[in-house]
């Protein structure tokens, strides 16, 4: 029981990382029909930015802000930077290519991804970096036998908060309605007087911002960050997106959490070595039987 609870907890923690990243994929795909391969590396970039912020600000944090304050500050700054970078990427690398269709976009996205990954390597060096201990809170709660670090709690709460805010924006506000509309049919939405560019700007700012947040959290949680981590997390998050139903916001959240839990339980009860294999097999099965993901609804081909 204890083991199960611990795995579940870890699963949820990782899952919330995946979910936060997946949201970025999902929003961009929903509106642009683009698999934004650069998103994973934006996440990694966020992680490194957080690292630098914390290193530079160590003195300030320890004396004034306190660890939690420092964490929040790092997250906010990183998120803002990422929002800027994200929109820049869209401006420079994607906007001109929209008329050319989707495949060139994919290549461009891969190019951006390679570019970001290697710029991280050039700036921070090829060695894995580590969030230094003195800026990461290490307190924990002992509930029964299960030990929960405060960090985990904060991560869970924070990501849940962010997700619900986003959910509210997307589902309840008129702006969200506009986003959903343009996700369904961009041209018609444009005809209905929705300013697509604003929407694009918004998703390319918000997606990476969430990714960056996740990046800082991952850095805090595992300490070790490396410039290649973007690929692994990106791939997992994209899997989560598809699992939940691509272009579907709640789908991305549920997909992410589900993936995290699956991964942990899979490695706990099936095989540690084959946990990713297990994850992908589940994904493929889901797609065979529900070709549009868990929450995505079937749309009949109009002839």
């Amino acid at each position: 029981m204890r083991v199960f609870l611990e795995q579940l907890l870890n699963g949820l923690t990782i899952g919330s990382f995946y979910a936060l990243i997946a949201l970025g994929y999902s929003m961009v795909f929903g509106v642009m029909k683009l698999i934004n391969f650069a998103h994973g590396d934006l996440f990694a970039l966020g992680s490194y930015l957080g690292f630098t912020i914390l290193v530079l600000g160590t003195a300030y944090i320890t004396s004034y802000l306190g660890l939690w304050g420092g964490m929040i500050a790092a997250i906010i700054i990183a998120a803002i930077c990422l929002a800027v970078v994200g929109t820049l990427v869209e401006r420079i690398a994607y906007r001109k290519i929209y008329p050319a269709g989707r495949l060139p976009l994919v290549v461009s996205a891969l190019g951006v991804s390679i570019f970001l990954q290697n710029s991280i390597m050039v700036v921070w060096g090829p060695r894995p970096q580590a969030y230094t201990a003195n800026v990461v809170p290490s307190a924990y709660l002992q509930i029964g036998e299960v030990r929960i670090t405060l960090l985990q709690i904060i991560i869970l709460v924070l990501s849940f908060l962010l997700m619900s805010i986003l959910y509210y924006i997307i589902q309840k506000t008129t702006f969200g309605a506009a986003i959903r509309a343009s996700a369904l049919d961009r041209d018609t939405a444009a005809l209905m007087g929705i300013n697509i560019n604003t929407i694009i700007f918004f998703i390319f700012a918000l997606g990476p911002a969430l990714g960056g947040t996740a990046g800082v959290m991952v850095g805090m949680y595992y300490r070790k960050i490396s410039f290649i981590m973007g690929w692994n997390y990106g791939l997992k998050a994209f899997t989560a997106t598809i699992l939940g139903g691509i272009g579907n916001i709640p789908g991305a959240m549920i997909g992410g959490l589900l993936l995290g839990v699956l991964e942990m339980l899979g490695s706990g009860y099936i095989s540690t070595a084959y946990k990713d294999v297990f994850v992908f097999i589940v994904l493929i099965l889901v797609l065979i039987f529900r070709p549009r993901g868990l929450l995505g609804e079937k749309v009949a081909e109009k002839v």
């Binding site: 795995q7 870890n10 090829p126 030990r147 706990g268 540690t272």
Partner: protein, 388 residues
């Protein structure tokens, strides 16, 4: 018409490559070129970089003393293998295909050394490993493969006989990372423990591998915790070691943590964080700072003079020693032919005064007599020999 341009560009490019490759120059008094294959980039770049610095330092010392074979300088040629088996094979081919490379010092990590050594063997090129301690590397009857570092079975036995007693451990957990070196050490340790197991003094309660390069090892660690061991021996490399000690402590594994000789490294402390790292133990060949030979002094000075501090990794120093023996052998035999050199090193070389102590090789290419000690991470984040 554009397309035609493009085609032209390509064909020109192909031709250009050809022409460029024709330019081969030769000096009148050629230096002795010795290859160094190491992880200059990639996750273990720190080891490769340090090995490069050490070998160059050693070469500088020799060259300042007037080189070998009456004034021929030693030149180091680097090939990067990024600590990947495939890249390692390519790097080996790159060195082999350069005719002026007389011998090669190869590389950190048994999983890279293994394929590379086979290639060197195929092309009959002397190669001396500095960071590959897996036992069976020398057991496969390779003619041209030697190593200046020790073997994992020495280390395994050391753990089994000494360390276990020090902590009076009964329940032993062993974790490896599925890679050549790590699995080798784990197996050797198991073998070393076998007598005690038969005698019923100890038992191995956990023995399993993890996948390197991931960031979350809580699941295997939870399994490990459920077996509540007295001592936890991790035989993998430092990036995983750093994560594992953190996560182990976080989920409440309190028993002493002992790492193999690939885990002892400043990076380990950086990743684990000092509060977690201090008090961790390592089974480890002696570090340069603990070596008391005059050659060690000299080398340490020369290195410090250039790079500010003495090398923290023991392997880099073995690399320097590899260079020393090769240079010495060439000087003595007056030949750069691999067969001659191999024969000399294996059969004639006796007590060569190396940085890491007297060096000699047995007929299968293992170094005779290397010592292992138990190190502990101090509260300041240094490493010192642990004496209970």
């Amino acid at each position: 018409m554009k397309r035609i341009k493009f085609l032209l560009v390509i064909s020109v490019l192909v031709l250009a490559l050809g022409v460029a490759s024709l330019g081969v120059t030769a000096a009148d008094k050629p230096p002795i070129v010795i290859g160094l294959q190491g992880p200059i980039t990639g996750p273990y770049a720190v080891e490769g970089e340090m090995a490069k610095q050490c070998v160059e330092t050693a070469a500088r010392i020799i060259n300042e003393k007037g080189g070998i074979l009456g004034g021929r300088m030693i030149e180091i040629r680097i090939a990067d293998d990024a600590c990947q088996p495939k890249a390692g094979a390519l790097a080996a081919i790159k060195l082999i295909s350069q005719k002026d490379v007389v011998a090669s010092i190869q590389t950190y990590g048994s999983s890279v050394t293994q394929p590379a050594s086979i290639l060197y063997e195929k092309f009959k090129k002397l190669n001396i490993a500095y960071g590959a301690t897996r036992t069976d590397l020398t057991e496969k009857g390779l003619e041209y493969f030697l190593r200046t570092c020790g073997r994992t079975d020495t280390q395994g036995n050391f753990f089994a006989e000494y360390v276990v007693n020090v902590f009076g451990a009964k329940r032993i957990a062993i974790m490896h990372d599925n890679q050549t070196f790590s699995v080798g050490l784990a197996e050797d340790t198991k073998k070393g423990l076998q007598p005690k197991i038969d005698a019923g003094e100890v038992e191995i309660v956990y023995y399993d591998g993890i996948t390197p390069g991931e960031s979350d090892y809580t699941v295997p660690l939870t399994k490990l915790r459920e077996t509540n061991p007295d001592i936890f021996y991790f035989t993998g490399y430092f990036p995983e070691a750093g994560l594992i000690i953190r996560q182990a402590r976080n989920i409440g594994i309190t028993c002493p943590f002992v790492g193999g000789d690939a885990a002892l490294n400043d990076e380990f402390i950086k990743i684990a964080g000092l509060e977690m790292a201090k008090g961790c133990f390592m089974t480890q060949e002696a570090l340069l700072k603990d070596l008391l030979y005059p050659e060690a002094e000299e080398f340490g000075e020369a290195y410090k003079a250039k790079y500010g501090e003495i090398p923290s990794s023991p392997w880099a120093v073995y690399a320097a020693d590899a260079l020393n023996v090769i240079a010495y052998a060439i000087d003595q035999t007056g030949s750069t032919d691999s067969d001659v050199l191999v024969d000399y090193l294996k059969n004639k070389l006796e007590n060569f005064p190396g940085i890491t102590g007297p060096i000699a090789f047995n007929e299968i290419g293992d170094r005779v007599g290397t010592g292992i000690s138990l190190y502990v991470v101090t509260d300041e984040g240094g490493f010192e020999i642990y004496n209970p």
